[in-house]
């Protein structure tokens, strides 16, 4: 297990490093010189050269990359060419907001999917079980931002019980913070919950056919008890894999949902960066998002190995 952990950790570090190269190389392709853009068309060549030197963009790309990636290791994302403010703290602030959004969405998805998926599997012959399957199929077809718009329409426009957007920091007013996040959480969580319900259902269905459930019943358990004690943990093994993929999907979904609800998260920062042609900011946010996806995959792989003794 330790060996596996070390190997997997090495893979994580290596892929993060390669991802950093890819992100940097990609953004280096961006047409236009940041110094020229910053100074406008009427700048003198001398002023541009001076600014270029200040930005460090006059140096060879390899040196620039080492500089940037070296900074990343210390949490320094550089200073924006456009706003002249350090990027790291901005990303830090926004990351917290996005993380709360994603984890809340995941919690909603799990709260929906585990009971419904299990029920749909156990009662797969009942009308209600079949109905859950059908509804989840429809849920998958609704993108998170559309779910967001629908929820705003119902709860903000019609019922007027929740705000249609905006974000109040927790420290300012915990109640408003919660009210502001309920709809974003629901939009992310309900859609992913629909996807997850199908996986939970099929995992539980698979487990229900396993011989060890019959063994558990032969020991004197009822069928519910057998499923509870022996089935759910076994069913969780394939579901955890999907959960990892979903966290990554949620992270990206959050980018869009932040737009719908005007929440100042990483997605908002990224899109503003692109709009303002803030190269270094975009580079930093993309790197953080990609690293987050890689870390999620790492955690899922490790969890998978912890859950299943056959893989240890």
């Amino acid at each position: 297990m330790t060996l596996y952990l070390l190997k997997r950790l090495a893979v994580l570090l290596a892929s993060t490093a390669v991802a950093a190269v890819v992100v940097f190389a990609f953004m280096a392709l961006l047409p236009g010189d940041p110094a020229e853009i910053a100074l406008g068309v009427n700048a003198t060549p001398e002023a541009v050269a001076a600014l270029r030197q200040q930005f460090g963009t006059d140096r060879p790309p390899v040196a620039q990359f080492l500089d940037w990636s070296g900074g990343l290791l210390q949490g320094d994302f550089g200073t924006s060419y456009v706003t002249s403010s350090p990027i790291g703290p901005q990303i830090g602030d926004r990351l917290g907001v996005t993380a709360v959004l994603v984890l809340g969405g995941m919690a909603v998805a799990l709260a929906v999917a585990v009971p419904l998926g299990t029920y749909a599997a156990v009662r797969h012959r009942d009308p209600l079980g079949a109905a859950i399957s059908a509804v989840s199929q429809v849920g998958i077809a609704i993108p998170a931002f559309l779910a967001g718009i629908l929820l705003v329409f119902v709860f903000a426009v019609q019922a007027q019980v929740l705000p249609s957007g905006g974000y109040v920091p927790f420290a300012e007013d915990p109640g408003e913070w919660l009210r502001g996040l309920l709809l974003p959480w629901a939009s992310l969580g309900l859609v992913q919950g629909a996807v997850l319900t199908r996986y939970v259902r099929s995992a539980v269905l698979d487990v229900m056919r396993e011989d060890y459930l019959r063994t558990a019943r032969a020991k004197g358990r009822g069928s519910t008890g057998a499923l509870w004690r022996h089935g759910l943990r076994n069913a969780s093994v394939p579901v955890v894999t999907v959960l990892g993929l979903q966290l990554a999907t949620l992270l990206i979904g959050a980018v869009v949902v932040e737009r719908v609800f005007v929440i100042p998260g990483l997605g908002d920062l990224l899109l503003n960066g692109v709009a303002g042609r803030d190269l270094l900011l975009v580079q930093g946010v993309v790197m953080v998002l990609v690293a987050a996806v890689l870390v999620i995959n790492f955690v899922v792989d490790v969890a998978y190995h912890l859950l299943d003794p056959r893989l240890r």
Binding site: S15, P143, F145, L146, A248, I252, L270, L271, V286, V293
Partner: protein, 274 residues
Amino acid sequence: MRGRTNAGLVAGGALVGLVVLTAVASFFWTPHDPTLVDAAQKLREPGGGYPLGADKFGRDTFSQLMVGARTTLYVGVVAVGIAAVLGVPLGMIAGMTPRGWLSELIMRVNDLVFAFPALLLAVMFGAVYGAGTLTAMIAIGVATVPAFARVARAATLQVMVTDYVLAARAAGRRRPAIAVRHVLPNIGSMLIVQASVSFAIAILAEAALSFLGFGTRPPTPSWGRMLQESQELLFSTPRLALWPGLAIALAVLGFNLLGDGLRDYLDPKLRRIR
């Protein structure tokens, strides 16, 4: 059980067929020019030649929906095409030489690309080359390559141990010949299923990108952008969000049902178990 399988397939096929028909029809006829700005028709209620009303620029919603179907299919076909053309050969190579360095390299690169979701790629492409339908399609396509490569590899691994491939190899047939004659036809059904599922994901991605302003550019109609334009009017004219939302959901539902239905239909093993 057989009947239920077919019901999904039929419903999926019908929905996909509806989208395709609408897209084809839009080449020949739409009630109005979908891009025609007409201040006199601003936020016009449904009726009288405007079956679903008009938006804030006076453009006919129904005509925009019809042409939007065309955009959706166009993006889906190109993106899935890119993904299949790149992903399938790579996956087959990885599956036919499972222990080779090339296979290892392909799968590692695959994992790396997997860490760049379609939306992120599209934003990056958009930042570099400018946002538009083309960059969106390429981004979605590239991001979908790993899915095809994985399915192709897994299916190829299964086919490679079957008796007919072993026989062909024993008879001295070369790898490319085996790939074309035996592997491809036998993994075809899995790939068709994957294509259908990927198509649904591509539609979702295009809608999200257009919603964010990184997809289809105005004035070309797109369901995702229709939603984005309607968001500020949600309090006064919610129907403007309803129709494109419904269109996206039905199209995605259609391709998902079609994929599931095809999976059950093409794979008798699965059909028996489910």
